[in-house]
Amino acid sequence: MRNFKHFFLLVSFGALARAVLAQTVVDLENFNLPPNTFLNNASPEEAFVSGPVALPNLYDPQFMFWTGWAISNTTDTITPGFLNESSAMAGSGAEGTATYAVSYAFDGAVLRLLGPAAGSTVLGLFVTNNAYAYYSMRDGDAFAKKFGGPSGNDPDFFLLTVKKYRNGVLGPDSVNFYLADYRFEDNSRDYIVKEWTYIDLSSLGEADSLLFTLTSSDVGVFGMNTPAYFCIDQIRLQPLVSQKEAVSGGPSFSLYPNPASERVFVRLPAEVLANAVSIDVFDAAGRSVSMGAQPQQSFSVSDWATGLYYVRIHTREEVATIPLRVVR
């Protein structure tokens, strides 16, 4: 009997796990680029498509000029200047992959979720600086200033802002990420991002597309002087799933309300005793969230940041992981 229950739980856990870990990671490796390639022309298409993600690209053959996104696997992290617009400063793709996307975002860049993926939540993605922009900020060039200025104290910054479109409307929320920040009083804290860094976009919620914009402190009469480039890779998506589908079969652990903003209650199956339950919570990036005193059947989420969490409920015999959304 116990083995059968175990088996059932394992199956259901597997289903749960699959459903919950059914986040998609768009790794951009589907382009099969030969080594050291910069693909900036999507014609005849108007976008580079990888899984459910479309990265718009426009190539002007008369002027050999591209805008939007390009796909790259070049590894030159040494050469400054516009000729090295194809390289990410990290030297390769994120999480050990080879390919990444480069954005020219002078007027903003859009990332679209295609077809059934529209409405998913983009949990996050990895971002880093493009080599051209990096060296322009670090050393200056003929048109853009060296960040910090001649004294080193200028409070310069290079900011990436992400917003979302849902049903044609631009949402008010935004996620800010500093690709370079020289605003610190203590200059030793000044930095320009050089490695792949994960940014959590889950707080934006369901989206049809994302809008990326760049702003800089180095602005002249022609607008932003800092080269308007950045790189992304490993886009994590959480498809739209209803709570019912996530929990299929097996003992019904569930959380209510879900989404929640104040307090969450755990509904346990009849045969599980409350004192035999322990609960761990992880946020969307996999970091553990402190639960304070061991909760029994309810816990407060009133001071948690909005977003998606995973609640892992242990009993002596089984483990279940349930996604929980915190909203305000």
């Binding site: 400054p80 090295n84 050393d139 048109f143 060296k146 200025g149 004294s151 009469v221």
Partner: protein, 645 residues
Amino acid sequence: MGDDVFLYRHFLPLFRVRCLALSAGALLKWVTIGVAQSDSAFLLSPVDVIAPVVRSQPAGSRVERLDSAQLSWHLSESAADVLLRRSGFYVRSYGLGSLATTSARGGGSAQTAVLWNGLPLQSPMLGQLDFSLLPVLFVDELAVQYGGSSAAWGSGAVGGALLLNNTSRWSPGLSLSVREGRGSFGWQQRSGTLRYGRQHWATSTRLFAEEAQNDFSFRAAPTLPYRRQTNARLQQQGVLQEIFLRPRSEGATLSLRVWWQNTFRQIPPTITQRRSQAEQTDALLRTSAHWRKALRHSVWELRAAYFDESIRYRDALSRQDTRNAFQTGLGEAELTRRFGKYLDAQLILNCSHTRATTPAYGTSVVQRRTALYSVGQWQGRRLRVQVDGRLEWIDGRRVPFTPSIGMEGQLSPHGQLQARLARHYRAPTLNDRYWRPGGNPSLRPEQGWSQEIGATYRRAVWKGDVALSATAFHRHIYDWILWARRQGQLFFSPQNIAEVRTRGLEARLGLQQSFLAKGQVRLSIGYDHVRSTNERPVVNPRIEAGTQLFYVPKHQVQAELWVQWDHLQVIVFHEYTDAVIGLNETVSAFRLGTLRLQYARDARKAHLLLFLCVENAWDAHYQVVERRPMPGRHFRAGIQAGLCR
């Protein structure tokens, strides 16, 4: 606007181009600016068979001339340095030995024409010229024409024109002169002139070699420590070879000229740049042939020229290596005829063919121009009136007809009045038309009208004289070409979207006196006021209607004191330039002073000259172009010796 700065910004990465003898007579001419032409005109005997060079003496236009005696103070320098000290043109200098462009009467840097013996030198790709590459050594006469004359000189003579002339020298015998200079920051210059003449031919060779480290100390801001300029070396050589032929003493003359010059310059980092390994080589070959024949009532001139110029830009850091080049062949036929006692007319036909190559064009491009110019001049005892006009076709398309009318009248023995009305145009450059991305082959030329009125007063005072002049001008140019980015446009492209109205005032005061038999003193003060405003707003670049153009100062004041005592001459020069609006920041106003000493001994067959210059004498901390440092006080000294037989 700051066209050259803009071009540097956008063209620099892809193509380097994105990228002026103090003797009594000399200062007298400098002082009697408005009167010079009329004086010489009135002194000419009416039965003189040689007709005046009508096109080069525009009536009603303000022209300031420097002859070889005045230019002798600047033999170690370029035209940029002369214009900086001797004219109301605003010179944008990018640093010691670096690029220098001009703004004449509030115009853009492509709105100053440069003519070498009547032949246009501006680059057809950029429409402008680097004035630091015009050595004064190669020039015998320099004339600064304010307001330009599109009729006479064609495209680009909108704000002003710089006329560089070589005179034919027929003095027989041999003369040789060598000059050696040394100065701060590793500056060295060596030059020589060799002339030999016989009855029917003469030759003149001028050559120079110059180098400098330009590693001057500067501070990015008064609160920051001094540091040395890096990557600023300069190395330059050039030769001007002239041959004059005159088979029969009163017959035709032929002047052949070859001007070869090679300049290597490292491009230093800006104040907001950590380092630079960029360098640029400008190579040019300019050849010309002038044939002139004077008849009883007319003069024929035929001119032919071939220019081959290139710029190579390299940057080891960003791995760039681009070469941009153009070759131009041009021919000009000119007929000047005198009709009766008072009337002169000139007719000029000009054809040119240019081929230009740069990676950004894709293939090389070709431009053909044909122009017809005609001028009529009526000269009476006290009045001179000129009417002229130009018809031009560029690649088969006609550009606006540009007429002008000017007058000069002697109101009294001391006073003169002059006025001028002219139409101007500037054709789009090859970069404007063919650059990828953005080039627009169907751009219209910039065009507009200008008006000016001036008065000059001169009279003898005690042991010398005083001269005063003032000129007021107004110019309106529309269809002004600006590289801009429209909403939703992917890249910058040149568009006829700007409109500029310029008005201003030029005032000059000159005073000269002799004293104590051996001494002479001269004082000249000049003031230039220019309000050059954008009449229409632009989104990108961000321009508000009514604002002053980028890099055009509202006020410039120059003062020069010259003292001669026996063999010694001293000049003290001081200037004030008002603040200008830059592309990223405002460039503050600055005051600059120069001290020069010259000691000259002349014997019958030899001469010796020693010179000393103190530049930036008051050690001012200043910039002319934003983010480009300028040196503090520095020195140049040298010696010149010559023989003639």
